[in-house]
């Protein structure tokens, strides 16, 4: 089955489906990590997004048991890869990536030139897009053509398409400039950042994990399970609560604001709750979205990056030192204004954007990257120790 990825600017890409054939809209983003698709796909921070993986071969090692996932289901709205590998090889594999996607009703396309999409997103910024299946574009380029099976597309259609391209004086290789020629739209573009995504992906009820003398509340705005695993490993009791849970109801020693999808400014209840933590001077650690929420709660400000940071090779420097750490990142928003009383803790070595803030005196700190990794390098796991020392 053939499908299309259509971007808001009208550009279209044809690909072979290997997931559920279901129309889907979302924000199209790319990630550059070379491993860890099971972790990324189940990372709630990707909710509402159509994920383009830049590493061309995906599916290589299949899909492991659920307990290794970052959440209970696939969180991305859709997946785009250059080549899907249907012959996984790994001792931990329980199913193929394709079977998994189909079971979870997630559409996925094999579009050869993912690099072109990446470059477009890099140049124009992240863009809304949609995936459609019943309305195959005739404007397939050479490499996309290989995706099309004979029975689906009569070769005469292709001849027509090619002739059309040539008559328009176009190199069939360069398919640009033919936007808006698609057929019936099956779904509308939809900006996920306009809704409170954290609310959608957050746990609905409180649950506990681990044991220890100290209790850490984890505010789930789209929590990756490895954050819980990292805390449990360090012998603390973990209480995971929904994004808008009234913290006054609980007794605890420290709080962690989790990662999560979307615009932090949508998570108003969480921001309010964090203000309570700050007022009570409870040791607080924010990760990713949690970093932005902490900043907003302390009267800082956030903004949307052009195309965000998504990958496993983002270099972060500890402010005031020459110490660099390699980090996993997955965010579209960042801190613009560091709140009063706080200072920059980490910054990105490449684009110098903020990667974390820490309070001058009080036990409040947060990072924009993912110290829990999974996927990605394990360079900053020590931050959990730093956090727990504050209790």
């Amino acid at each position: 089955m053939i499908g299309n990825l259509i971007l808001k600017d009208g550009s279209e890409y044809v690909g072979k489906s290997f997931g559920k054939e279901k129309p889907m809209a979302g924000e199209v983003v790319f990630a550059t990590g070379m491993v860890g698709y099971p972790e990324s796909l189940t990372d709630p921070s990707y909710a509402g997004q159509i994920l383009v993986l830049t590493y061309p071969l995906q599916g290589n090692y299949g899909v492991p048991e659920k307990k290794y996932w970052e959440s209970g289901k696939i969180q991305v709205s859709g997946l785009v890869v250059s080549s899907y590998i249907d012959t996984p090889s790994h001792h931990s594999s329980k199913q193929t990536l394709s079977d998994w996607l189909k079971k979870q009703n997630i559409p996925a396309l094999e579009i050869k030139d993912t690099r072109e999409i990446t470059q477009k997103l890099r140049t124009h910024g992240v863009m809304l897009g949609k995936m459609e299946f019943n309305n195959v574009s005739l404007r397939a380029s050479a490499s996309e053509r290989s995706n099309l099976s004979q029975e689906k597309i009569a070769s005469s259609t292709f001849a027509k398409a090619s002739a059309y391209l040539r008559s328009a004086g176009q190199n069939p290789l360069l398919r640009q400039g033919f936007g808006g020629q698609g057929g019936l739209a099956m779904t509308e573009f939809k900006d996920p950042n306009l809704e409170n995504l954290a609310a959608k992906v957050s746990t609905k009820k409180v649950y506990r994990a681990g044991s220890g003398k100290k209790t850490v509340v984890v505010i789930d705005c789209g929590l990756k399970q490895n954050i819980v695993r990292e805390l449990v490993k360090r012998n603390v009791k973990v209480v995971v609560v929904p994004w808008d849970y009234n913290l006054k109801k609980l007794k605890f020693d420290a709080a962690l604001i989790s990662n999560g999808p979307g615009d932090p400014k949508q998570a108003t209840t969480t921001i309010e709750n964090v203000k309570y933590l700050l007022a009570k001077k409870i040791p607080t650690f924010g990760i990713c979205l949690g970093n932005q929420i902490l900043a907003l709660a302390a009267d800082g400000d956030t903004y949307k990056l052009k195309y965000g940071h998504r990958g496993q090779n983002q270099p972060c420097v500890l402010q005031g030192t020459n110490k660099c750490y390699l980090t996993t990142q997955n965010h579209g928003f960042a801190i613009k204004k560091i709140p009063k009383g706080f200072k920059q803790w980490f910054y990105n070595a490449n684009d110098k954007t903020n990667e974390g803030i820490i309070h001058n005196k009080l036990p409040f700190m947060s990072v924009q990257f993912h110290p829990e990794a999974h996927p990605g390098p394990l360079d900053t796991g020590w931050l959990f120790d730093e956090f727990l020392k504050k209790i």
Binding site: F30, T32, G33, M34, V35, G36, P38, T54, Y55, P56, L57, N60, Y61, P64, Y68, S82, S83, T87, P88, S89, H90, S92, K112, D113, T114, R115, T118, R122, S141, A142, S143, E144, S146, Q150, S155, F158, S162, N171, L173, R175, N226, E230, G311, N313, P315, V317, T321, N322, K323, C324, L326, N350, E372, A373, H374, P375, G376, P377, L378, D379
Partner: protein, 1096 residues
């Protein structure tokens, strides 16, 4: 660090198996990094064909052996502040360790830059290092170090068979292997102890995955792993002999990052400053193993997936893998490592690819890289084909694609240019049962295994069975099956519509292969493809997978794309075709010519485009050209790039034979070939045309003729008289040519080696004995000589010019002879209207010159002669391309230069160290001296490990003539205080002539015999001359029983210099008589040059 003014860099010497061109790359990058900081560089490296030994990088170059003895002299003279040890492979590192141990560095106040020397010492001692790793909770295979066979046996017993045996302090896994029983253990350990004082016996990890990480660390402790790589072949095959894929394909995030963290921890624990390579064995089944003490060992940092891994090797220096990682990712590892050694931190070194980011990051690839080794085992008579833990390959290629299939198929085409992919493999499976085939070609790893498994799949073998036999992960096998299936579909359907064409190309099928399967021609498929718009995309390697706009010029082609990352350069660009993988006969010297050509083109305001596929080269450093295509050198690819770039010129004459062979096809495609026309190149290449040309010009050549029948060939041989040189046009196995001395040998050779018929005739030519061989190298412009040089072989003709010792200027040649040569060269270059480089090989016998070969391209000797004459032949060639060459004003140079071949016989068990008409050396060195003798001594000492404290020599002189001719040399040896050991007839002869000597028993006689004498290691060198100067073909069995073979083998196995040519041996002894080692001049090449210029 501010005080650093002058830094000494140690090179790796000649290219040899296990230590090849990658160190030209790393040394060159290091010197570039030093130069940028305004630091003067002094280089010791006798490898004359390298870029690093060119004046553009080093301030002072010493063409001297990289040994403590000579390096100390250079230190005393140059007084450097610092020394870099990690850029010249194991040779440089060993030399540095020795200098450290002897206190020489301390004495001269030379600081070791980068990784502290203590860390290097630790990593080089296998036992101490294993203890260190255990201390920091890093898993190492159960093992023990042994200094004797008895100790090794005890350890093996404790661990249990199978065990892996490795020699300490040895390059490329030399003398290591897997032992399944006591007998094998004894064999391997004895071999290893011959080259190393210590062996490590460890648990053999059957079919574990082999994974490597390249780590860099700065002085602040910041660490990144630049690349991880997965060996397609499981553990047990040396990484240099493995097909390697980057990044890893079958590792999960937990595995990838778990092992990454272990590498980083190791590097931090050692305090590395610079680069380090860590190799792992990883259990493919993921189960935790029971530790010695019965507890289970879990690694798992995240998740609960315990990693069952072991560290198997750590190299605290730049390595072959780091060169590969550098080329695979675009991260200039050696350059960065050098900056870190100077005290910079990673975030202060700019990313040379993006120019907007810095060096603290890990490249994200959006492509797949496949490295494939190139073996030349068939060039060595007797060499074992099996590959294992000791490296045997002589070169490698690297291919880039967006699918594994695309990259793998490219790589297999790049290897020799003779096969079109993994499915074109020449196997004839009919005579073997599936089981036999599996046993012979799958279970036993050989260079053919990749092709054998494609063949098995074609014949319906199950992927799982192949996994059982090979241990190659199913993931790879399924991908290879996809290639096979794609081909089978094509064969069955014969579909050539655009969609199908595109699918074939994405699976890596070449036009030629598609043509073959559909009964069409390559050009027909090309035309179909172009019509359908199925053209490759030009993609950049930008280190960040497209995340950041990069101005990189590092490119590859793929069919998994719709767009091009770059715009064509057009007419102002010139393409320079590289030489492909290093192999016997084509090595770093051609890379030198390519790079110098590219650099010279800048003078003409041209944009240069280099195409090459060899990761061990400097030409594939992206700052050597305006654009680098890391691509194949076949017609299809070159034509694709040409079509895209619309270049104004293509240089085919500076990359050796590989690009030269494309001249005809490219010319027919209307490519703008620079210099000599393809038609005239062909007139020199085509034996018949060339012969006619020589006849027309009245130039002598050895008599020859082609035959389709043995009878006719025999008649001809009788007529011209034996010996004859026989060259079949289609070789089944074994050597491509041979000298036959009698009808029996002729019959045997043709019968065994060749498929003789009308289509594949055999060429028989008169082999002229006792002739002198001379090399004539030149650049011409419109048929007129612009610059030329004549160099002389020390050995008589019959030794391949690549294996010969060559001296410049000539020492035993009359001026009138040189005049004759020049007249002939003038005639030939005029007739062929040569513009650009060319080389003529002459035989000289009884004052008559015979032409044996003309190559209308840059030859192997170009860098040697350029450096000897203080000029630049490729630059003059470029001038000639544009009609701007000026005649070179010849002046006598102040120094004599002697080139010596480097052999790697020690690495190839079973191979007979003999000189033949076919080349077998893997590299070369060259040294300068005031006299021929001085240069010869230095040169021979650079290619062999000499110990002048030893005063015994072993002579074994076969045949009356050899004995008589060597007599004077033997007398000299006695005069010089050497004790002569000699075998039976040699000893009797010497005694008859009143030369004192000690008789040693023959190999076949009781011990102690001649072999024990060699193994005793107190012999300075061995002279073994066999009748007919050792050039006859013998059958394998006979050779193995032969005394000469056993003596030669024992000499190379024990690393004792071996002379097998009478002329060279005599010249060496003579030189020894005239020079004391301590008065060999320590003069840099630049000093000679200054003298040369001042005299002008």
């Amino acid at each position: 660090m501010k005080t650093l003014k002058k830094v000494l860099v140690l090179g790796s010497g000649a290219l040899k198996i296990g230590e090849a061109g990658e160190f030209d790359y790393s040394g060159s990058q290091a010197m570039k990094a030093l130069k940028e900081e305004g630091i003067k560089t002094v280089l010791v490296n006798p490898n004359i064909a390298t870029i690093q030994t060119s004046p553009l990088l080093a301030d002072e170059i010493y063409f001297l052996p990289v040994t403590p003895y000579f390096v100390e002299k250079v230190i005393a003279k140059e007084k450097p502040d610092g020394i870099l040890l990690s850029f010249g492979g194991q040779t440089a590192l060993n030399c540095g360790l020795e200098l450290h141990r002897k206190g020489i560095l301390k004495k001269h106040k030379v600081k070791v830059l980068g990784t502290p020397i203590e860390a290097v010492v630790l990593t080089e001692d296998r036992k101490n290092f294993a203890d260190h790793l255990r201390k920091i909770n890093v898993a190492v295979p159960p093992s023990g170090a042994a200094a004797t066979l008895v100790q090794a046996q005890a350890i093996a017993k404790q661990i249990g068979f199978p065990v892996m045996v490795r020699a300490a302090y040895a390059l490329g896994g030399q003398k290591s292997g897997v032992a399944y029983n006591l007998k094998q253990l004894n064999e391997i350990v004895s071999g290893a102890l011959a080259v190393s004082p210590q062996v490590l016996v460890e648990k053999y990890l059957h079919h574990f995955k082999e994974i490597e990480y390249e780590v860099v660390r700065d002085k602040e402790g910041n660490c990144v792993t630049v690349c991880n790589m997965e060996n397609m072949d499981p553990l047990g095959i040396h990484t240099g002999d493995s097909i390697v894929v980057a990044p890893s394909q079958t590792l999960t995030s937990d595995e990838y990052h778990g092992l990454r963290e272990v590498s980083v921890n190791i590097v931090k624990s050692l305090g590395i400053v610079g680069e380090c390579n860590v190799q792992f064995a990883l259990n493919p089944n993921g189960s935790t193993q029971i530790k010695d003490d019965g507890s289970t060992r879990m690694h798992g940092h995240t998740g609960k997936q315990g990693l069952d891994y072991y560290v198997i090797e750590v190299n605290a220096r730049l390595s072959r893998s780091s060169a590969l990682a550098s080329k695979a990712t675009g991260y200039p590892l050696a350059y960065v490592a050098a900056k870190l050694a100077l005290g910079k931190t990673l975030n202060k070194v700019q990313n040379q690819v993006t120019k907007v980011t810095q060096s603290f990051f890990e490249p994200a690839l959006d492509y797949v890289v496949v490295k494939m080794p190139r073996w030349d085992l068939e060039k060595f008579s007797g060499a074992e084909e099996k590959i294992g833990s000791a490296m045997k390959s002589v070169g490698e290629v690297m291919a880039i694609g967006r699918s594994f299939e695309e990259a793998l198929q490219k790589a297999s085409r790049m290897l020799s240019g003779r096969v079109q992919g993994v499915t074109e493999n020449g196997f004839n499976i009919k005579n073997l049962s599936k089981k036999e085939f599996s046993e012979k070609f799958l279970k036993i790893p050989t260079p053919k295994r990749l092709f054998a498994l494609a063949e098995s799949l074609k014949n319906g073998a199950k992927v799982k069975d192949i996994y059982q036999a090979t241990g190659i992960d199913l993931w790879f096998l399924y991908r290879i099956k996809n290639i096979v299936d794609t081909e089978e579909n094509l064969k069955a359907s014969q579909m050539l519509d655009p969609q199908s064409l595109c699918r074939y190309k994405q699976a890596g099928l070449s036009d030629k292969r598609i043509a073959f399967l559909t009964g069409k021609t390559e050009l027909e498929i090309r035309a179909l493809r172009q019509k359908a718009g199925v053209l490759p995309s030009v993609f950049q390697i930008d280190t960040l997978a497209g995340e950041v706009p990069a101005q990189t010029n590092y490119l590859y082609l793929t069919y998994h794309g719709n767009h091009h990352d770059v715009q064509p350069l057009g007419k102002k660009s010139v393409m320079v075709l590289g030489s492909g993988p290093y192999h016997i006969g084509s090595s770093v010297e051609f890379d030198w010519s390519c790079v110098n050509t590219a650099l010279a083109l800048k003078k003409y305001d041209k944009k240069t485009i280099i195409i090459n596929c060899n990761p061990e080269t400097v030409s594939t450093d992206y700052d050597m050209s305006d654009r680098l295509y890391f691509e194949d050198l076949n017609f299809e690819t070159v034509a694709d790039i040409l079509d895209f770039e619309q270049s104004g010129g293509v240089a085919v004459s500076v990359g050796g034979q590989r690009p030269n062979n494309l001249a005809n096809a490219l010319a027919a495609y209307k490519a703008p070939i620079l210099g000599t026309s393809a038609e005239n190149i062909d007139r020199a290449e085509d034996r018949n045309k060339f012969s006619a040309l020589l006849d027309k010009l009245g130039i002598l050549q050895p008599r020859w003729q082609s035959f389709a029948s043995l009878e006719k060939a025999e008649q001809f041989a009788e007529e011209v008289g034996y010996p004859v040189l026989v060259r079949p046009s289609y070789v089944l196995s074994g050597s491509a040519m041979s000298v036959c001395r009698n009808p029996q040998q002729l019959k045997d050779f043709i019968g065994k080696a060749a498929d003789l018929n009308q289509r594949h005739p055999v060429t028989v030519s008169k082999f002229i004995e006792n002739a002198k061989e001379l090399e004539f190298d030149a650049v011409a412009q419109n048929g007129e000589l612009m610059v030329y040089a004549i160099a002389e072989h020390v050995e008589n003709a019959g030794v391949h010019s690549g294996d010969a010792t060559i001296v410049y200027p000539t020492q035993r040649v009359y001026a009138s002879t040189e005049y004759q040569l020049r007249q002939i060269a003038k005639k030939i270059s005029k007739e062929l209207k040569i513009t650009g480089p060319f080389n003529i090989q002459f035989l000289f016998k009884d004052n008559q010159p015979f032409v044996i070969e003309v190559n209308v391209r840059a030859s192997r000797t170009f860098p040697l002669l350029s450096k000897a004459l203080f000029t630049n032949f490729p630059a003059i060639a470029v001038d000639s391309f544009f009609g701007k060459a000026k005649k070179f004003n010849y002046e006598y140079p102040p120094a004599v230069v002697v080139k010596s071949p480097q052999f790697s016989f020690a690495r190839l068990s079973g191979a007979d160290p003999v000189l033949q008409v076919e080349m077998s050396s893997t590299g070369e060195v060259a040294c300068f001296g005031r006299t021929y003798d001085e240069a010869l001594l230095k040169s021979i000492m650079s290619a062999n490990s000499f110990d002048f404290t030893k005063k015994r020599v072993l002579l074994s002189l076969g045949g009356e003539l050899n004995k008589i001719k060597f007599l004077e040399a033997a007398q000299t040896l006695v005069f010089l205080g050497y004790e002569i050991l000699a075998t039976d007839t040699t000893a009797s002869y010497l005694r008859e002539q009143n030369v004192a000597c000690t008789v040693v028993r023959k190999v076949s006689e009781q011990q102690p015999n001649v072999l024990n004498a060699i193994e005793g290691k107190d012999i300075a060198f061995v002279v073994n001359l066999s009748q007919n100067e050792g050039r006859q073909e013998q059958d394998k069995l006979k050779r193995h029983l032969n005394d000469g073979f056993r003596i030669r083998r024992a000499a190379v196995d024990n690393q004792i210099p071996l002379f097998i040519d009478l002329h060279l041996a005599r010249a060496f002894v003579k030189a020894l008589g005239r020079n004391q080692p301590d008065n060999l001049g320590i003069v840099s090449w630049q000093e000679y040059r200054r003298e040369f210029i001042n005299n002008k």
